[in-house]
Structures are given as structure tokens and as C-alpha cells.
């Protein structure tokens, strides 16, 4: 279930064109994937805030930068992001999102975004920088965590 929800929910959130409409990823630009000389993402502040937000939203857990909880999630994000980008670069994984994960229509109205009552969304079908899939992995990880399942 976490596999499916991570896959479906994240691209749907990235589909909102107005960043303020996004619930979780208002700070994340899926085209920004650069690291500085120390191997730290150039948008580290935005990543930190997003990880904190996700931990609070899904697990009701404080995960400030430097905490163990933060570090675990950040490590996962970075690992998936970098290894995934390498696979995409090497041609071992497509740029396109898995078919089921593509965000092309409103899931409640079963209409394309353009025809739905909230047309201010664009289809999200590719992920050339592997940013969306890295966040999908993070959401999967959090949705299958004990604090989510057993609390």
C-alpha cells in the first residue's frame, strides 16, 4: 500500500502549478538536482524544510536537521536520487515515471487536469532528474513506518 501511495500521491502534488497549492512539495523544484563541492544539494534548506514537514505530517514526529530521524530520511533521499539519476543517465531506467505513477488526471473526478474543476495543474509524466522518484521513495518509507502504521 505504501508502494502505491508513494507512487501516486507525490506526482499528484507536483502537478499543481501554483506552488502554494501543493501540500508537501511547495519548496521543491524537480529540475534542481545539483550538488555543491561538498556533495550537499544546493537547495539543502528547502530539502530540510520538506523533510521536517513530511515527518510532522505523516508521523507526527519532529525531525529537525541533525536529528537521527532527519539524517535517516535525508540519506535515503540522497541515495535514491543519485543512484536513480545515474541509472537514467546510463539508460538503465527510463525518464518517464512508472505508468501508474503518472499524474495526468484528477483522481476524484476521473477527468484530465484541464477538464477538472481544478485546472491549474499540469501533467507530470517524466522525471528526468529523478527528483520526483526520490521523494516518492521518501513518502513510501514514511507511510510504511511504525509510527504511521501502529500509532
Amino acid at each position: 500500500m505504501a508502494n502505491e501511495m508513494g507512487c501516486v500521491a507525490v506526482p499528484q502534488d507536483f502537478a499543481w502549478t501554483n506552488l502554494l497549492d501543493r501540500k508537501y512539495f511547495a519548496l521543491i523544484d524537480p529540475t534542481v538536482n545539483t550538488l555543491d563541492a561538498n556533495g550537499v544539494p544546493t537547495n539543502i534548506g528547502d530539502i530540510e524544510s520538506t523533510i521536517e514537514l513530511l515527518h510532522a505530517a505523516f508521523l507526527n514526529e519532529a525531525a529537525p536537521p541533525g536529528s537521527e530521524a532527519f539524517k535517516e530520511t535525508y540519506d535515503l533521499l540522497l541515495t535514491v536520487w543519485q543512484s536513480g539519476l545515474q541509472r537514467v543517465t546510463d539508460g538503465n531506467e527510463p525518464i518517464a515515471l512508472p505508468q501508474r505513477c503518472k499524474a495526468t488526471q484528477d483522481l476524484l473526478e476521473y477527468k484530465s487536469f484541464a477538464q477538472s474543476s481544478n485546472p491549474n495543474r499540469i501533467p507530470i509524466v517524466t522525471d528526468p532528474h529523478y527528483v520526483i522518484r526520490a521523494w516518492m521513495a521518501v513518502v513510501n518509507y514514511l507511510l510504511s513506518d511504525a509510527r504511521f502504521l501502529l500509532n
Binding site: A69, T73, T79, P98
Partner: protein, 469 residues
């Protein structure tokens, strides 16, 4: 999907996969390397029309069978025909002839009750009262204790008395597709490896990080209940990996071709359970089939009716399927099958049952005396033990009391005394626990089935340990 629904479904999936957190205090003796199949004729079968045949017309109408139609197996089991003098047929062969060498029929078993729930509990736990798990659950728990996280489907069940008292989950088996999906949770279509939600390396990274985080949470947690919950979750994740082993046997249609429930409603579930056993992730299957509480429909024989013999035929077909496919899978040498029911049935009711507003029918009611069958290589002295007799003025057959002479079981005509006994489910379960090699396991000791005045019976005298409870 709402979080509430997600939580409910996730919890169900987790429970289905979760393994017991039981920690065994001392190192118990390992259980015997057996695979167990419990076949439950749920609703109370009537042994007087098959393995303990009675020809008195108050028990059996001549159009059902007559004394000259009775047959005898090579091992001395007297049995009645299915219809028109023809035997219960499985795969073109007479069931009692085909399996004579691995079949022990125990007649004259005192089920001690006429209540379905109590009888079923007694038949499958060995005890009339509540508080003892079904034997399949007990054995599955013991095996799970020796192989943590490797038996996610240790106990598969289709229903009946499958209470495990929380020792191990009883996983209900029905359709194949939902199980196949569980084996490959990252695939939208289990037949298409490209239909993944997350790349395999991503899933591996998530699993790795989950393990690290869960280990940290466990080490930091001070509350035992939460700690146990975290450990169960980790076990469930590990078991999920083991569950994927089911995929191979279940999709191998050369050995386990698809089956329908037309011939016997138990076949689809039996197929899944066999696949799980072949995958090494299941130890016990409980195949419970309803429809035996036939009462006024007892003698119906037309196809599609609720007649008792039709259900028996379906039961034998399922039994044959399990043995046949178990042999093909190389599992039959360590398989033990127990076939039983809540209890037995009476003579024809007099007066007849009322049927509808005007009709009546000579149905058969509940009766405590019943039979049990054990099949497998552990049955080194196949045949029949135990006897029943008819007594005037008694509604059903009476079981003969037995005494122990060395390692022999002998019938006695004596009245009740401390040295003789009726064969009861307690005795059968004791011998089954001995076959399983769990008689002295702490879980078996925790759930005793005998009473202080009971003494063990040599139902299978070659089985080690039968002499003492």
C-alpha cells in the same frame, strides 16, 4: 484513499503477514519435519454410511445401500458404497482401496457433545472446553518458533475451528489472485515485472533504511508493548520477503494446474496451500468444508442437492487431490492428514423431521459417536481400530470401551471402570502431538488436552512417546 482506510488495510496486511513475538523460555525439542493437513467435514458427518457402516434399516435405507454391498479394503476396513453399490471414486479408483496402505480409521470415537461449535473445537483442539488452540495453529506456532520470519503462511485455513489464540496468524485462503499480489507488492501486475511502482533498487534502499530506523526505534524504546509492536512490524517485513517464494509454485501450472471448485469446493484452497508448502512457507493447512449438517436432506443423491454422500464424495476428491499433488511436489512422504468432523449422526429420526408446512422427511440428527481418519506414512499399521454397536432404544451407535494391553488396544465389553475408556479426541490428539514430536514442547505443555483420570492409548503404537501424556 483516506488515511483511515489506508491504516485499516495496512493493518490487515500486516496482521496477515505478522509472526508471533513469542519468545520461548528454554530451547524446546525441535518438531518433527512434517506437513499437516486437517480435513474438516464441518457440520457433523455420518460414519454409518461410509467408514463405520451400519445396515440396520433404522440407520440406512435399502436404497442407500444394503449389507451385501459393503466392501472391505486390503487392510480390513469395512466401508459402504457411494451409490448403486459403487464406491466413492477418486481419480477413477475406489478411495478406500487406493489409500488402504496409509489409512487408519478410528471408529467409535466419543465426541462428547451434540453441539456443533463445541464438537468442532473438540475435534480440532482435542479439548471440549475453550482455551486450547486448534492443532494446526499449535503446530504452526511451534514450527514458526524454530524458523522465525520464514513461515509467513505457517497456518492456512478455510474456516472451521481455526482458533490459534494469537500464537500464529490463521491466514484464510480463497482466491489465488490476492495472494499473488501479496507476493509482489511492488508490482501492479505480478505477471509483468515492468509494472513496478518503484525501481527494485529503490525498494532495496527503502528496506535498508527501514531496518536501520526500526532498529534505532527499538533500542530507544522503553515501553515493552511498543517495543513488541516494532519487533512484530520488522518480522512482518522480513516475512514479506519469504512470501515471495510462493510465486514460483503457484505459477507452475505443470505441477499445480489451475483447478475449479466444481468437483470439490476445497480444491482451489488446497492448491494454494500446497503451493505454500512447496515454497517452504507453510506447515499446516486446515481444509474445512461445510455442508455436512444434512438432517432431512441426508439421503439425497441427485446432483446439486444437499445430500450427505455428495459432500463425502467431494471430500474424498479433495483428499485425493492433496495426496496426488503432494506426491508430484515431493511432499507426500512427510505429510500427515487428519480427517474428522464435529461428531456423528443418529438413526433416522422417528418421528420424521417436519419439512415445510406439510411434508416430513426421515432425516438424521446429531450424535456424539463419530470416526476419525489419519493418513500418511506414520500410519504403520493401517486398517481400523475402535468399534461401535447398536443397542435397542438408543438413537445412535454406541462406542465400545477399550483397554490397553501392552502396546495393543483391545475392545472390552466391560462397564465403565478406571482401566477402560472410550476413545476420545483427547487420545487422538495425544497421538498426533507424538507424531508431530511436540508432546514435550512448552507450548504443548501449556495447552494440555487430557484430564487427570485419562490414560494414553496405543492408537499408533509405533509412534514414540505415546505411552505417557
Amino acid at each position: 484513499m483516506k488515511r483511515r482506510h489506508f491504516l485499516a488495510q495496512s493493518t490487515l496486511a500486516t496482521l496477515a503477514l505478522s509472526l508471533p513475538s513469542r519468545a520461548f523460555a528454554a530451547t524446546p525439542p525441535p518438531p518433527a519435519d512434517k506437513l499437516w493437513v486437517f480435513v474438516d467435514a464441518n457440520g457433523a458427518w455420518d460414519p454409518t454410511i461410509f467408514c463405520d457402516p451400519q445396515t440396520d434399516e433404522t440407520f440406512v435405507k435399502p436404497d442407500v445401500f444394503t449389507s451385501d454391498q459393503l466392501m472391505t479394503s486390503p487392510t480390513g476396513v469395512s466401508y459402504a458404497p457411494f451409490k448403486d453399490g459403487q464406491p466413492y471414486t477418486v481419480g477413477g479408483q475406489d478411495y478406500f482401496q487406493k489409500y488402504a496402505q496409509k489409512l487408519l480409521v478410528i471408529n467409535g470415537v466419543d465426541g462428547e457433545t451434540n453441539n456443533h461449535n463445541v464438537g468442532s473445537r473438540n475435534a480440532w483442539s482435542g479439548k471440549l472446553g475453550a482455551g486450547v488452540p486448534t492443532l494446526g495453529g499449535l503446530l504452526a506456532a511451534i514450527h514458526t518458533g524454530t524458523a522465525p520470519n520464514l513461515l509467513p503462511l505457517a497456518f492456512l485455513s478455510t474456516g472451521g475451528y481455526d482458533e490459534t489464540l494469537g500464537l500464529v496468524p490463521a491466514t484464510r485462503v480463497g482466491k489465488t489472485d490476492p495472494l499473488l499480489k501479496l507476493t509482489q507488492p511492488n508490482l501492479l501486475n505480478e505477471n509483468n515485472p515492468d509494472s513496478y511502482f518503484h525501481h527494485a533498487e529503490v525498494i532495496a534502499a527503502i528496506r535498508q533504511k527501514q531496518e536501520e530506523r526500526t532498529a534505532r526505534l527499538i533500542s530507544e524504546q522503553g515501553l515493552p508493548q511498543i517495543k513488541a509492536g516494532l519487533q512484530r512490524l520488522q518480522s512482518a517485513r522480513d516475512a514479506e520477503m519469504a512470501l515471495s517464494a510462493l510465486l514460483g509454485p503457484l505459477k507452475d501450472t505443470t505441477v499445480l494446474p489451475e483447478v475449479s471448485g466444481n468437483e470439490s469446493p476445497l480444491l482451489p484452497s488446497a492448491r494454494i496451500a500446497l503451493a505454500a508448502m512447496a515454497a517452504g512457507i507453510c506447515r499446516c493447512m486446515n481444509l474445512s468444508m461445510r455442508g455436512f449438517d444434512s438432517h432431512s436432506n441426508h439421503d439425497d443423491i441427485a446432483p446439486g442437492t444437499a445430500g450427505h454422500r455428495l459432500r463425502l464424495q467431494e471430500l474424498f476428491i479433495a483428499i485425493d487431490y492433496v495426496w496426488d499433488r503432494a506426491a508430484a511436489l515431493g511432499l507426500s512422504d512427510k505429510m500427515v492428514m487428519v480427517i474428522g468432523s464435529d461428531f456423528g449422526r443418529t438413526r433416522y429420526n422417528n418421528p420424521n423431521f417436519q419439512v415445510g408446512s406439510t411434508g416430513t422427511a426421515p432425516g438424521k440428527d446429531h450424535w456424539p459417536i463419530t470416526s476419525t481418519m489419519i493418513m500418511g506414512d506414520d500410519v504403520t499399521a493401517p486398517g481400523v481400530i475402535g468399534q461401535t454397536e447398536i443397542q435397542d432404544g438408543v438413537a445412535g451407535v454406541m462406542a465400545k470401551r477399550v483397554v490397553v494391553n501392552g502396546n495393543q488396544l483391545e475392545m472390552t465389553g466391560d462397564d465403565k471402570s478406571p482401566s477402560n475408556t472410550l476413545i476420545r479426541q483427547t487420545h487422538i490428539h495425544h497421538i498426533l502431538r507424538c507424531i508431530a514430536g511436540v508432546k514435550d514442547h512448552d507450548l504443548a505443555i501449556r495447552y494440555p488436552v487430557h484430564r487427570p483420570t485419562d490414560f494414553p492409548l496405543p492408537l499408533l503404537p509405533n509412534v514414540p512417546g505415546w505411552e505417557t501424556f
